[in-house]
Amino acid sequence: MPSYDVMPEVQLYQPTEVDDALNLAEKFRQQGWLLGGGQDTYGWLKDRAKNPTALIDLNDIEAFKGIKTTSAGIEIGALTTLRDIIRDPLINDHFPILAKAAGRVASPQIRNVGTLGGNLIQDTRCWYYRRGLACYRAGGNICYADSPEGMNREHALFNASRCVAVSPSDTATALVALNATMIIKNIDGDREMSAEDFFVGPDTHITQMTALEPGEILTGIKLSNEWSKARYYFEKIADRDVWDFALVSIAVVIKEEANTILDSRMVCGGVACTPYRLTKVEQYLKSNPLSEKTINKAAKIASQGAETLNYNHFKIPLMENLVKRALRS
């Protein structure tokens, strides 16, 4: 596939009002590309791997930006940059895990312009798919990554169904851990859904990573006070410390008393097509005092059910060790 290194002809719309943006999203549907920070846009277009008719630049819509308190917690506009999230005192005070996760996204330059919404809805990094090959995710009938010759070091351990690509978003794991709520708008109104339901697997939606339907815009994220100021742990393991995607990451929030975990939410990134919640570990931790034995058992439970590919076996000990580190922290 040729790389043209120049933009194709595409219409550019720069709405300043929410209604205009929603009308454009509805008008163009699959042919409209919602543009935030643009950090996962131009490569697709230059490679001609995605060929939208129109770019709908949302950056002039102030209503989609900023962080504000609400009676139930915090609401973050989807167009808020990752840098603003990292530096925001409110988030650092109440939900530092999100600031930590945002701080591990890509590089400072990308975080300066990249938005939370863009980081959440970015497409998978499977290079076969990115290269424009007609794999399952691209509407085809084959997975190139999961084949005897396929290079699948970064691919999924869990919940693969034909496609073995993983979710690349660092902030997604933190938001699922925080039980965030996604605010989605279309011309007919709003709908809200949990972050956990927002990310969808290939068993149901093989050609998309999120529950966003054509014509819809992710406009904001709500964080309730449920997990405000909870003990947290976030760690991302990647080949490079900067400008790289997680091989495995973990986001954990814990409510504890003395040496007992009252409640927790543990989510791994880089191991499934969606942020992978470790519900069995969470349940196990509720009924056991936090000891080294409990931690070791929890790590083993975390990796139960993993189905390795040819080159991603290393993710199992990596994941188990991250669980241990999270619980020991």
Partner: protein, 250 residues
């Protein structure tokens, strides 16, 4: 309207991706037009009085064959729903349900093949030259099965065998509890398999729609009853079938 959709393979060559699912709407439209035309034509004709369903009962389908028919019907409907709905935008986790229903269909078809060879009279279902007289000669009465029933059976046999063979090849190429996928087929071969599976499925949509329509027509309802309860009345048999060609057990 194209039969197949195309894609570029890993080497950049154009290969078949699978059936064009736009054909579904064409197939449905043609099928329902055909049904409507048939319904209108039959309605304009003078209807004969329906034969009496009381009196002596003749066994038409043994219990095991009725169970086979309805298990096949259920598995086929599940296969069509799980196979086609995701293609028209109704998305759900369909793959496992699809291959489990596919396995069930395969097993019962194998059972049916053995049963029809060793326990049933295969000739009852074969289409002979004499059967071709039926549409042109009102006095001609068929044996146990009419030409329409035999034709439907022959069509379903061919289509089901094709869909099973292509389905088994596709099944070998996905992860299952028993093996890991191999991607052993070249992309152009894979495309032909998907195309066969898709087109045959679309043909089955038409055939099954017609089958349901004829099964629900008032003058044919006694056949549907026989597929549920097993019997037709002696009057129904005498009216519709040749006694010498269909020698019933009771």
């Amino acid at each position: 309207m194209e039969l197949a959709t195309l894609k570029k393979d890993v080497w950049g060559r154009e290969v078949i991706l699978g059936a064009s699912w736009d054909l579904l709407w064409v197939i449905l439209a043609l099928t329902f037009i055909g049904i409507a035309v048939h319904a209108i034509v039959v309605a304009t004709k003078k209807r004969k009085a329906a034969p009496d369903s009381s009196g002596k009962r003749i066994e038409r389908h043994e219990k095991i064959d009725r169970i086979f028919h309805w298990v096949m019907a259920v598995s086929m409907i599940i296969l069509l729903i799980t196979g086609i709905f995701p293609k028209i935008g109704i998305e759900f986790a369909w793959l496992t349900i699809h291959w489990v229903a596919g396995l069930l269909l395969t097993v019962i078809i194998i059972f049916h093949i053995f049963r029809s060879i060793f326990w049933q009279n295969l000739k009852d279902m074969w289409i002979g030259l004499n059967d071709l007289k039926e549409p042109f000669d009102e006095s001609y009465k068929p044996g146990k099965y009419s030409l329409a029933q035999k034709s439907l059976h022959a069509s379903v046999t061919i289509l089901t065998l094709l869909v099973i063979i292509s389905g088994i090849i596709m099944f070998a190429l996905i992860d299952t509890p028993w093996w890991e996928r191999t991607n052993a087929l070249s992309e152009d071969m894979l495309g032909w398999v998907f195309l066969t599976h898709g087109l045959v499925s679309l043909a089955l949509v038409a055939i099954i729609s017609l089958h349901i329509y004829f099964g629900l027509r008032p003058e044919k309802l006694f056949y549907t009853r026989s597929m549920i309860k097993g019997w037709i009345s002696e009057h129904e048999k005498n009216e519709n079938h040749d006694q010498e060609k269909w020698v019933s057990k009771n």
